[in-house]
């Protein structure tokens, strides 16, 4: 699916918008950063992790990143820091740590 460029949407005239308020693409909210909502971030200890994938299946923000059936990272642009992953981790491999550093794209 081709990217729908909305970078200058605030300059668009009424007839430039897609008809009927349709969003002519899918899943472009991943361009919208909700990581700034977070006060704590999940930290996963790879040594403790058993790759049970519960953090992935329970994440409300689709932010546990999985490849080849393994969690490898968290999507910190979208993770809101709810802490479900840490709370549900049966191996205690995830810890919520206070937010300190700056995030790319978050002001």
């Amino acid at each position: 699916m081709s990217k729908w460029d909305v970078s200058d949407i605030n300059q668009w005239k009424s007839d430039q918008f897609p008809r009927g308020a349709v969003i002519p693409t899918g899943g472009n909210s991943d361009e919208y950063v909700t990581g700034g909502w977070r006060s704590e971030r999940p930290y996963r200890d790879d040594d403790k992790c058993t790759q049970c994938l519960l953090c992935w299946v329970f994440c409300p923000d689709t932010s546990a990143m999985v490849k080849d059936q393994k969690v490898y990272d968290f999507d910190l642009e979208h993770c809101k820091g709810c802490g479900i992953c840490a709370h549900e981790c049966p191996a205690d491999a995830i810890e919520m740590v206070p937010e300190g550093c700056e995030l790319p794209g978050v002001k």
Binding site: I9, S14, D15, R19, G20, T25, G26
Partner: protein, 395 residues
């Protein structure tokens, strides 16, 4: 070459035939008097296999229009029909269909609104929907109901328009009366309406789109409404073009306003729907008596033909605007308000009087039409003051 068959038929049958010939992919519908025979006859066409339509027998009018919205957004050609309380129940969905720019075509059997409950003709239902963003046609006869329905589909689906449209006909008077009408052959109608080519269809699953998004404070809601306004403004030219094309094919004239005796008319009745015929019948008699009577029928109410109407009546001595619905607390009925507003920019304006008539199917007797013309003559002669709003024939 088109071939046309002369038939003895009702307005509802003609609408059902028009729907069949337009070959909608989906018809979600709910029965209500006096629309019922439209959906019954269409169901028969489906049962006979004469149309491929997926006919959805919904459990309410609200769901009828909701399913229309879903089906149209999915990329289907969609038609339905309703009336009165049913149209009122759809109210929320009418706005959504227009806001999502879905070219749904719906017939409405114009009927009074409760309370008290009444199944007969007036325009309370449809006039309540006049600001929902739909294009609105009015038919005087079964023939016009048929022609309007076919034209409405072409206009609605036109890329410059993409708005829902209503083809309305007077409950019982036009829906159920048997009248002489001409039915175009299927192939000619099929060619006339063409294929619908949807954009951003939900069923284009390889290219997902989101319909009905949230556009709150600071979002472009305001801009969406402006583009909707631009679209209905643009529709006027499309309505006329499509009408001219249909006239060429059918031999039947069409315009957004249709006049009789307007060239030199001094006393004019402006009316909508079946009543225009009664007014014309009486105008002919008045002419025979030497009164320069004229009748202006408004065939398209949305978009409203402001310039055309003002131009047609501005030189008259006195004009009566006939409203078959109320706008309680306003200066007059909906048609009157529009006509009066249309004249505002003209230096020369005729005396204008508003008659509310025929509510709940009260019979539009010819004597009442005569009374209106005679009032107009008296008003022009200064014998009586133009009353602002007259309940014509009410006790």
């Amino acid at each position: 070459m088109p071939t046309q068959k002369v038939v003895a038929t009702t307005g509802n049958t003609m609408v059902a035939e028009a729907m069949r010939q337009c070959a909608p992919d989906v018809v979600p519908a709910y029965p209500i008097t006096p629309q019922t025979t439209i959906v019954e006859e269409f169901a028969k066409f489906v049962a006979q296999g004469r149309v491929h339509t997926e006919y959805v027998t919904v459990e309410s009018e609200h769901s009828a229009m909701s399913a229309c919205v879903g089906a149209s957004a999915a990329g289907a050609r969609v038609m339905t029909a309703t009336s009165s309380q049913g149209l009122a129940l759809m109210w929320e969905e009418l706005h959504i269909a227009a806001g999502l720019r879905l070219p749904i075509v719906m017939a409405n059997a114009n009927r009074a609104l409760a309370a008290p409950i009444n199944i007969h003709c007036d325009h309370s239902d449809i006039m309540g929907a006049r600001d929902t963003g739909w294009i609105i046609y009015f038919a005087e006869t079964a023939q016009e109901a048929y022609d309007n329905t076919i034209m409405a589909l072409r206009v609605a689906e036109h890329p410059e328009v993409m708005l829902p449209a209503m083809s309305t006909l007077d409950g019982f008077i036009t829906t159920h009366s048997i009248d002489r009408a001409e039915l175009m052959d299927d192939e000619s109608v099929k060619a006339f309406v063409g294929d619908y080519k949807p954009e951003n269809a939900l069923l284009d699953v390889e290219n997902p789109t989101t319909h009905g998004s949230f556009s709150g404070l600071g979002g472009p809601y305001f801009e969406f409404k402006k583009s909707q306004r631009n679209a209905i403004d643009r529709s006027m030219a499309v309505i006329k073009d499509v009408g001219a094309e249909w006239t060429k094919l059918s031999g039947r004239p069409f315009d957004v306003i249709e006049g009789w005796g307007m060239e030199d008319a001094e006393y004019i009745i402006v009316a909508i729907g079946s009543t225009a015929g009664n007014a014309r019948h009486v105008a002919r008699e008045m002419r025979a008596e030497g009164v320069k009577a004229g009748v202006l029928k408004v065939r398209v109410f949305r978009p409203f033909p402001f310039a055309e109407i003002a131009d047609a009546i501005k030189d008259a001595k006195a004009v009566a605007v006939l409203d078959r619905s109320e706008s309680f607390g306003a200066e007059g009925g909906p048609l009157f308000l529009e006509v009066r507003s249309a004249l505002y920019d003209h230096d020369k304006r005729p005396a204008l009087v508003n008659y509310i008539y025929g509510l709940g199917g009260a019979d539009v007797k010819l004597e009442l039409m005569r009374r209106v013309f005679s009032d107009l003559v008296d008003i022009a002669d200064g014998v009586i003051e133009p009353g602002r709003l007259v309940y014509l024939g009410a006790r």
